[in-house]
Amino acid sequence: MNNKLIYFDNAATGYPKPHSVRREAMRAFEECGGNPGRSGHILSVNSAKAVFECREKVCSLINYDRPERVIFSLNATHALNIAIKGLAEPKSGIVISSLEHNSVYRPVYALCDKNKDMHFDIFDASQKSDEAVAENFRKAIRADTKVAVITVASNICGRILPVKEISEICRQNGIKLILDASQAMGEIPFDFSEIKPSVLCSAGHKGLYGPCGTGFAVFSEDINPEPIIEGGNGLVSELPTMGEELPEKLEAGTVNTPGILGLGAGIDFVRSLGVESIRKKCSQICDFLTAELKSCGAIIYGDYESKTPIILFNIPGMSPSALSSRLDTAGICTRSGIHCSPLGHKALKTGSDGAVRVSLGYANTQREAEIFISEMRKIIRNGI
């Protein structure tokens, strides 16, 4: 871990990865060196058991008792593509929110661009009121809407959407709900059995502090999507198809065993600290930063009451990319630009250059926040 850096880019990937994550990933190389679900020797069996245990850990995190419905993926984008393209139907509509990441927007756009009998609608999720957002979603539904893809928390401003209410509306209208929980896992409690989405997708490497190159999708019992990638999966090898059983049906090729074991350790780590405890600490730092930035004259975008610890801001007259570069020279890691969410930036009206994003994690401290503010005041006083 680099002790000199202040890392405020946890929405991109969580850092530092806990020691246990690194240790478990290494254990995969040493003790689980076989290919899970392929061979009968001890290394393959060990790998298969370790991967299964990680499916169980995902279930424990989200209160769901079907580990066989947990699919591991390369990242959230991969998981979302599996879900969206596996569930989309011809001659139908898809609804997404105005705060979606390109990992939702682009596959939906591509599907509808290639299939002219499909369409998608975007509803405004930028309002402060949850009731207004839920109502906007309801109004966006058409008679042929079959799938909705919604982020649980925005990657640019942290706004937590009313997904429980939206899920209820989906069930009333026979719509399959795919949730992108990449910014929510490890940041806020999530109860799969209470919210009842059709699919929950997430990155493994952000709030769960797993290695980059990990993600997952969790499917409810009544959902049986078609695979979007075919290949070897250790299942009924004599057949030309992927078989019918999850998870193997949707996991073509060798899974990332070191990554998955690291992810499992990340889940254990987050649960040992307590999601609520992480949230409380990060919220306090976030509130301090927001107040101080406002007093510096910063424009804060999407300052919602219910949010994860993300702040999106601009300093009038300063280019966000120049500001982020200047902060980097001071050892402070942020991200500037559109953050893979052109829809979100348009909804929040940040402008064509986007904004600077600060996103907190378990390791951030009040002292780091004070150093950041001190540096910001210097920059505002002296220029970039």
């Binding site: 393959s44 299964f52 580990p67 299942l235 059983e245």
Partner: protein
């Protein structure tokens, strides 16, 4: 002592069953099936004592884990 091998549709289901069997006091061992026995499913099964097979079947039914076949181990 005689054993049976319970064949499941995938290694994931075999592992799920193994965990549940363990909680029920049924010992089992995950094994890759030999080719001549691997006509169905994933080619993995759980080796259990013959005396535990009926209980294993009932537990699997209760937990909605599909058993593809049950064969003599040898």
């Amino acid at each position: 002592m005689s054993y049976n091998i319970i064949i499941f549709s995938s290694v994931t289901y075999a592992l799920k069953a193994q965990g549940i069997f363990e909680r029920e006091g049924i010992k089992s061992r995950l094994e890759k099936l030999r080719k001549e026995k691997s006509l169905h499913g994933c080619g993995y099964g759980l080796k259990v004592k013959n005396s535990d097979v009926i209980r294993a079947k009932l537990v699997s039914e209760r937990e909605r884990i599909k058993i593809i076949d049950i064969l003599d181990y040898n």
